[in-house]
Subunit: 381 residues, 2 copies
């Protein structure tokens, strides 16, 4: 007899136990699905709330392979995991979503770029290099970003190379050189697909980037873009998830250039920072949708019920230690302000400690309130 997903004994294994897994668990409770996590950090956000929590290296073959043995579905909340182990599990008949083939492409920015090229998906011009010694012969390509093919994360592993004199800051490892894009804004599209091939897309999100922190400062939905650009973005997203033949949730970050073109920047095959607001703003949240996708359930409606702004709650610079959320009780007084803490006891500079969603029927009202809230709350030690 087939195991029923709601039977209480259905086991989803999640590689990673961070905040994305934590919010997935909150939704999984409604489905009566067990969430088991693997993470190297014994104090990761899921550690206290997962059905079981195993401490171990996500990049270790044996650890990942053994973790997957008794799970009914295996998924990820971070890309940097051992794909060989997942592939072996898949060959042995386990359901692994996103599929290992997708993770291989996503883990390597070079393969990502080649995938876009082969499938005629618009992306910034690029070149691949194996070492820093190839840098000089690419001086005709200035200005560009050098991005490590593997292991970059949250702005790490990226160097801006505008001219010869920046080469001293360059990385030595295999990299993508990506032509600097003169963009007007960055947007994000979250799409999902189940095994039956059903596809569903959330309303487009606009990201406001802090150049200083090299992190998303706030994002809002719906994005302030034309219907044509929205349609174009959704077509690109659909093409990507279908060409990848992927099952699960996929976040696609795109640049909207000053000339009105869309270029794919990065993809992440999992719930994403740019989808947190869907918890409050949409019929179905990105976390519930990811669950539906990997359990091969009908996808939920992504219709927005209200407009939303999301602010990452980051550790202030110069503070390391037990987190104190200055101003938190003040901002909780505002209608439409929802606080999500990730359960990280120690704050560090720019560490993602939580997020705040600000909702309203009127996007401008939400944006104004979000700016005010952002000034009022600080994570210190």
């Amino acid at each position: 007899m087939q195991k029923l997903w709601y039977g209480g004994n259905f086991k989803v294994g999640v590689l990673g136990g961070g905040q994305l897994g934590r919010m997935l668990i909150q939704e999984a409770v409604n489905y009566n699905v067990q969430i088991h996590c693997l993470d190297p950090d014994a104090k990761a956000p899921c550690s206290e709330i997962a059905h079981s929590f195993k401490v171990g290296a996500l990049t270790d073959f044996e650890t990942v392979y053994q973790f997957g043995q008794d799970k009914d579905v295996i998924t990820v909340e971070i890309e940097n995991v051992n794909v060989d182990a997942l592939e072996k599990l898949e060959i042995e008949g386990k359901k692994v979503f996103p599929q290992p083939s997708v993770l291989r492409i996503v883990q390597d920015k070079g393969l990502q770029k080649q995938f876009y090229l082969e499938n005629e998906i618009p992306t910034a011009d690029f070149r691949l290099i194996d070492s820093i010694h190839e840098m000089e012969r690419n001086s005709d390509f200035f200005p560009f970003f050098q991005k490590l093919r593997k292991g970059g994360y949250d702005g790490k592993g990226v160097a801006a190379i505008k001219s010869e004199k920046d080469i001293k800051n360059a990385f030595h490892e295999p990299s993508v050189l990506e032509k600097l894009v003169d963009f007007q804004k960055e947007i994000s599209v979250i799409i999902s697909r189940n095994e039956a091939g059903e596809v569903s897309i959330f309303p487009v999100v606009e990201c406001v980037f802090s150049e200083e922190l090299n992190l998303v400062e706030l994002l809002f939905s719906p994005a302030n873009i034309s219907l044509e650009i929205e349609k174009n973005a959704k077509e690109i997203a659909t093409k990507i998830i279908q060409k990848l033949n992927m099952v699960g949730l996929l976040a696609i970050e795109l640049f909207l250039t000053k000339s009105g073109d869309l270029l794919v920047n990065e993809i992440a095959p999992r719930p994403h920072n740019s989808g947190h607001h869907t918890i409050e703003c949409n019929h179905t949240s990105q976390y519930e949708q990811h669950l539906r996708s990997i359990l091969n359930l009908p996808l939920g409606s992504t219709k927005a019920i209200q407009k939303g702004v999301m602010i990452n709650l980051l550790g202030e610079p110069n503070y390391i230690g037990e987190a104190r959320y200055e101003g938190i009780e003040e901002i909780m007084k505002f209608p439409g302000v929802k606080v999500h803490l990730y359960g990280k006891s120690i704050t560090k500079p720019h560490r993602k400690m939580g997020h705040i969603t600000v909702v309203s029927e009127d996007l401008q009202v939400a944006l104004t309130l979000a700016e005010q809230v952002k000034q009022m709350i600080q994570v210190k030690a």
Copy 2:
């Protein structure tokens, strides 16, 4: 140094580990507050997801007293608990919300009635009796309901005594005889109060009762009542929570009589079946509001962002065993239909296995869809 509520080590003890506790835990994750449960059933809905789960009798002095020792705040998700133990904990300096004094009144329908009388809170006429022998001398009071002063729950402990010939069905124990109310509808008001004395009220809910099952069949919000009645209901609710001097969430069920009067039926000092829809429909859910109340945080906005209908997902009659949710994947396709399963593996006739919230901007649309959904889903074994 005062322990911070968000510090990760703040312990809320909950007497009861059912679905109300389960939904409280889902919200508590955002606050990074630990929820510890005590329940006699090792397989209760909170058993797998609480920070810790202790099996024990809620009515046993020593069990409750010991459970409370290391908690920072103690609350309930069911009324039938040992109040003496809670009172001792309160005297010893523990925060217990709702307060034991409130629980004493709520546990005894006779004391509840006297409380209403003393405080000029409208309620159906009543008499108190100590045993069945006093029944006959109250024949001038027919027709009435006999309600056990203690231990009644979900329609149990209630007998309709319309004439002498019904006395054979009467209970022997101390009871309230409550004059039959000729009501047009039943409504529910959920109110909350924190230690600072701040009070907040949710929009009024209308309950549609199934006489056959003696259970709420569906409820919707906002209630279809006049502004005057809404104002009146909220004034009654405010008076009750203030006269009780209560901290926490309080649900108040009222009859709206055919002549347009409001009469308090029952109160429950905890999250309530009639507030499930607030998860999707309001800025702040009843669960988050209860947490805010007992943690003495500013209360959240109760503004409705959409209209909602809630259907209890009850075990079909004649089925006992491993639950199967027939039609569940079909109803999940509808926009605005949200499923909450409570993690009970065994279904029994009329057992509350979960609930479904149906939301829309238009209440009539939600009601029509809810009726359709109700026909499509059945809990069998």
